[in-house]
Symmetry: D2
Subunit: 139 residues, 4 copies
């Protein structure tokens, strides 16, 4: 997996002169979309097929502030997938490798009306791929 990078934008800074903490939650989404892209399941395509994936929970631990114009590298790893929820873990790194933040997200899958979807039935290839990654994680 290619790590995802995000350059901190001016409008993401606040008057502490650091990237505002709420943006990290957005970068997690960017990195998650890139992760799905890289494993072959573009989220825009999934949504067109009727697979919606709302966020169930997020958690972020801020360790070292990030700054305007700095490139943050985000490593996404699969934590768990058992058919219903997708748990991802994120490590956000400064250019010199120091950890800026660690974070976790949990997503479910629903149809357009918000009813839970069994990915296994709706998109078996996507289900297989997620299972495969989850199994690799457990090793």
């Amino acid at each position: 997996m290619r790590p995802y990078t995000h350059k901190v934008l001016y409008y993401e800074t606040d008057q502490m002169s650091i990237a505002h903490h709420s943006n990290y939650i957005r970068w997690m989404e960017e990195a998650k979309m890139d992760f799905l892209d890289q494993i072959g399941f573009n989220y825009a395509v999934l949504e067109k097929k009727g697979v919606i994936s709302p966020v169930v929970s997020v958690e972020c631990h801020y360790i070292l502030s990030t700054f305007f114009d700095e490139t943050v590298t985000i490593l996404v790893t699969m934590r768990e997938y058992k058919g219903v929820r997708l748990k991802l873990h994120y490590e956000m790194l400064h250019p010199d490798g120091r950890v800026a933040a660690v974070a976790d997200s949990e997503n479910c899958f629903t149809d357009r009306q918000g009813k839970p979807l069994a990915i296994k039935r709706i998109d078996p290839a996507f289900h297989e791929k997620l299972c495969e990654l989850a199994a690799a994680t457990e090793d």
Copy 2:
């Protein structure tokens, strides 16, 4: 019309220690929604009826910076409505009355598929109200 107020939020500041200029465009939207509410046409209700109102253009002139925790008063006035486009004007004021910014927006009306809508036919009462306000402006 009651003026709309917006308290500048911490996450709206940037590292110049002022409210980032992009937020003013968002405050214009907040004030426009409040304007529609006050004239009796809640936008959430309009959308449910199938009336979508995309923004066609915005313009904002920043005169005096605004700061965290400051309450900005926004005066919205009708500039023009001839059945197709709604042009609104905004004056944003500091608590002491000094002008912080002046702005303009232009909206059109479409159906859910993006096709132009004749408000006169779809929602005659809304059309009447907008015409009435536009006429008052011309005086």
Copy 3:
């Protein structure tokens, strides 16, 4: 304590037609600022005195989506304060009382250069007030 309310803004929605989850992290900040205000310690004033309060961690569990134009009520409660970190808990409620989300945040206190501050020494009255609220929580 008066509960804090936030009306969901149009620009906070996403193409799932719900408030985007990253905004909840921002609402937590709004509610925290209001909480500090209500206990007599306005954050803008604290910052002017040189007390900066960066976020150390956030966590949010999304239970029921919130929607444009809906007023969300946010109840903030003190979870812990022992002189160094302030832990707050948030309950976000729909107008009918159903829980939309529960969340937690942790803040530290630093000077303008990012060095940890002992609130007890810098602002004893603020320290006292936080201790008092923390003690009430433990009961």
Copy 4:
């Protein structure tokens, strides 16, 4: 000049299922920062030298909506620079070349206290470069 590109992020969409119009104002800033970078004057470096560049006005005309996951190309061109204000023009294009939006911004230059700065004196090389680009525009 390499054109700047921005991939529309999920959190930038709204419930019209298009990129919310306020984001275009942010993309203009991203493209402006990239423009300054490309002409050799990184804005983070300028700010460290004490040159702050607040936005004086913005204007954006939305022609064709942009969508999640779409890559928008932004062409920035110098409109005017006479030593005090920098006027830039932006063309935002869909992948197929159709114009999504056209926009303009105007920036001034101040010191950290907000007092107007004569770029010519503070940073002659930057002034020269901007003059050169402005002259090329007039041809």
